[in-house]
Structures are given as structure tokens and as C-alpha cells.
Amino acid sequence: MLWTILILTAVGLVCAVLITLTYRFLPKEPESLKKAEAINANLPGMNCGACGYPGCFAYAQALSADKKVFFSNTCATVLQDEDMLAGLESALDMKVDKSALNKKAVVACSGNCGNVGSYTGVGSCKTASKLLSGFKRCPYSCLGLGDCIKVCPSNAIRINIRTKVAVVDPDRCTGCGLCVAECPRNIISLVPADTKVVFLCSYKDIRDIPGREKCESGCIGCRKCYKACPNEAIIWNRETAMPEFDQDKCTGCGECIAACPHGKIMLLSDVAKKIKE
């Protein structure tokens, strides 16, 4: 009995002394690592890589070195999560203006350009776009093979069954920008979350109005939206013959949407409806 207690105490004591000694006499651990760990606790931890760093911990290390990184390489997931953002703000000792960084992805194509032939290759936009012209008539069209769906970490993209075009659900989109980088046709872009209307066509060539050979519902530069706008929020770009929208002046009144003969203009909040079509 006595030995039991004695030995146990002795071993415990020796161990405790050893640990204390190592703890005391070895050099202190780097401060940055500690800080990075504290920051990492406030990151989502899904290591999606959208911020441009290989993983959340690497991002945390970068943040601990320079907190401005958060503005240049914003973690979109944190931005969506109140708790996480608050935690990160306190960990980094800074304030984030959420609305300025909050973005949504929009696929600027509304389909309808039709196929030029039956594509027999791999079911990936990147692969199809390596063919001479893809398999769609319009070289600026969404191929609809869903490469963006595969990379989306928040499951916000669907292919519209009718138009075979990818549609981003703004409610789910965190604006991480992975799909923007993925799209081989470069037709996905990030817009500020408070954008009111979006324009769903990327065609940049001079349009052949009577033949409309590329796309049945492509923007033909009719300028109806430009004329309809009561707030002068639409600027007509003469080079591309397409409208541009001044989001500050736009009130989201919907006049241009009603005016567009092909439904190319849409309220950002309505984009999600297209998914359910």
C-alpha cells in the first residue's frame, strides 16, 4: 500500500518535474504560430482554397503576418457567417465593412444559342472549350457541362434544365470566386451583393441583327433598355454595343427588364428563380 502510493507519487513527480523543466528552459515558441492558431480557430476549416492560400491554416499564418491580406484575399465563407466574422475581427483587432466585400457570382449567359453539332467528348466545359468552337454556336455562351458546379463549395450552382445554362443561386453564393476562375469561357463574374440588375449576355462581337446567327436571344444592341431607363442608370457602350449599368443610380424599378425583348436583363434577386424553371 505504502509502496503503491510512493511509487505513483514518485513517478508522477519525476514526470511533472521533467515537463516543467522542458517547458521552462527551452526557448519560447514563436509568437506568430500562437497567433495563427488563434486566427485559425475563427476560420471555416474546410480548406477550399478560394482565398488563394493552400488551406485555412496557411491563410491564418498569412493573416497573422499581415491582416490586410483579408481585404486582398477575402475568405468569403467567413464573410457570410456572423459569428466567425466577429471572432476573426476580434482576433485580428480590426473592423470589416461587410457590404463592400460581399459579392455574388453571376453567369452572364441566358442560353438559347443552340448547338452546332453533337458533342461526343468528355463532360467538362474545360475540355469542350478546347475544341475549336465548343459545341455551341456562340463562343461566349455557357457550355452547361457544370465545371463550376464541381468547384462550388456552397452548392449554389445548378444547370437550368430548359436552357442548359448554369445559374448561380445568389442566396447560397458566398462570392468565393472559385467558379469565376474555373469557367473556361470567362463568363462568370463577381458583382457586389447590392447589385440590382444584372445583364445576362457576354457576346462581344458585332451582332448580325437580321440573321441573329449566333443566338436566338442574344443582345442585339437594340437600345430599348437604354431608352427605357428613367434614372439614366444605363450607359451605352458604343464599342461593344451593349448596355452597362450604373448601380448607384439604378433603383431597381424594372423598366429596362420590361423593355428588353429577350429577357437579358434581370433583377439579381430573380436569378434564383431561373433555377426552378
Binding site: 508522477g12 511533472a16 515537463i19
Partner: protein
């Protein structure tokens, strides 16, 4: 855990208890405590014995850790937990050795390895050191029973397939005609343990238990 604060203490006891069995089933959902789930599930008896042992250790250690949670320095937290757990495991193994030697023999080193069972340390770390004693008891029971149920489930398949019959404490419940003569010995061997657990994991996922998480 934040949303549970409004619930009355009595109700929370049950919530924690049920959660331990189903939603956070240690073996099939949290995938913890794999070592005993594979090693001692070749028969129902062993599974029951191990389950009882784990419940005992989990309960005692949860109580003690919950009690001393405010006076434990953070730096030596883990060693303290381990010492507490190891003490109860030693007590347990002495009790088993004295009263049920056959079970003690068949559990072998796995009884001692309860010390490093991730479930116990994990609960100490994740729950007992943050919650008062009562909830810690509920948690211990919930997790412990969940663990025992998982062990029983695995051993059920392994014993029936591996021996062709099912028996508890030497009392044969039933036996399958052909299989009991030429049992599928594969299932009481190590590979069978991996296979059964793998398939059960897949089954649990397929049934959508994970979706509740």
C-alpha cells in the same frame, strides 16, 4: 450547445442522454473507440463486458473531471485527465480479475487500453471539463450506452456469422442449421471485424444518420 441553454435542466439531461446514443453515436457517427469495437466484438459476452467497463470508467472519470474542472491548470489538463482515467481503469481491471476471470482473460490488454480510448478522453476534453456534474453523468451514460449498443451490434453480426449461433453467458439463444456446423470463421477473425464495421458504417451513412449531424 448554445441553443440548449434555455431548456430546463431535467430536460437537458435527457437530451444529452439520447444524443449520446443516436445522434453522436461514438462508433458509427463519431468513429471513435475503434480499437475495442473491433477487438472485443467477436462475441456478445465480450462486447457486454467491455461496454460495462467503459460505462463505469466514463462515468467515474466524467464525475471527477467535472468536479475538478475549475482547479485544473490548462497546461497539465491532459495528463491529469489521463491519470484520473487510468486510476479507474486500474480499479476496473482489478475488479474484473477478481470476480470474472474468464472475461478478464478474453478482454486481455484491451481492458487496460480503455485508458487511451478516444471516447473517454474525448468526452473529458469536450464535455466534462466544460459542464457541471449532472450533465456530465448524463453524457457519460448516453455515450457509454451508445458505445455498448454499437459494440453489441457489431458483435451480433460477427457472432452469428462467425459461429453460426448466438449465445449469451454460455446460454445458446439459437443456432442456424448449416452454418453452425461449418461457421464462417472469417468473421471472428480480424479481417471479418474490419469488414463488418466497414459495412455497418456504410449502412449507417446510407440510412442517413449522418444527415442529422
Amino acid at each position: 450547445m448554445s441553443q440548449l441553454k434555455e431548456i430546463s435542466p431535467g430536460k437537458k439531461f435527457w437530451v444529452e442522454f439520447v444524443k449520446g446514443i443516436v445522434v453522436t453515436n461514438p462508433v458509427f457517427v463519431l468513429v471513435l473507440g475503434l480499437c475495442p469495437a473491433l477487438a472485443v466484438t467477436s462475441s456478445i459476452d465480450n462486447a457486454l463486458g467491455m461496454g460495462a467497463g467503459v460505462i463505469f470508467v466514463l462515468l467515474c472519470s466524467n464525475i471527477i473531471i467535472s468536479l475538478i474542472r475549475k482547479i485544473t491548470p490548462d497546461m497539465v489538463r491532459i495528463p491529469v485527465f489521463i491519470v484520473v482515467i487510468a486510476t479507474f481503469v486500474t480499479i476496473l481491471s482489478l475488479v474484473f480479475e477478481a470476480y470474472i476471470p474468464p472475461l478478464y482473460e478474453s478482454l486481455g490488454i484491451y481492458l487496460a487500453l480503455i485508458v487511451v480510448n478516444c471516447i473517454i478522453l474525448g468526452r473529458a476534453e469536450a464535455f466534462a471539463q466544460k459542464n457541471p456534474v449532472l450533465y456530465s453523468i448524463a453524457d457519460a451514460f448516453g455515450i457509454g450506452i451508445g458505445f455498448t449498443v454499437s459494440l453489441l451490434l457489431v458483435s451480433l453480426f460477427r457472432e452469428i456469422l462467425g459461429t453460426g449461433s448466438l449465445s449469451i453467458f454460455g446460454f445458446t439463444l439459437f443456432s442456424i442449421p448449416v452454418l453452425s456446423e461449418t461457421p464462417m470463421a472469417f468473421f471472428i477473425m480480424p479481417p471479418g471485424a474490419f469488414l463488418v464495421l466497414g459495412l455497418l458504417l456504410a449502412l449507417f451513412r446510407w440510412l442517413g444518420v449522418l444527415k442529422n449531424e
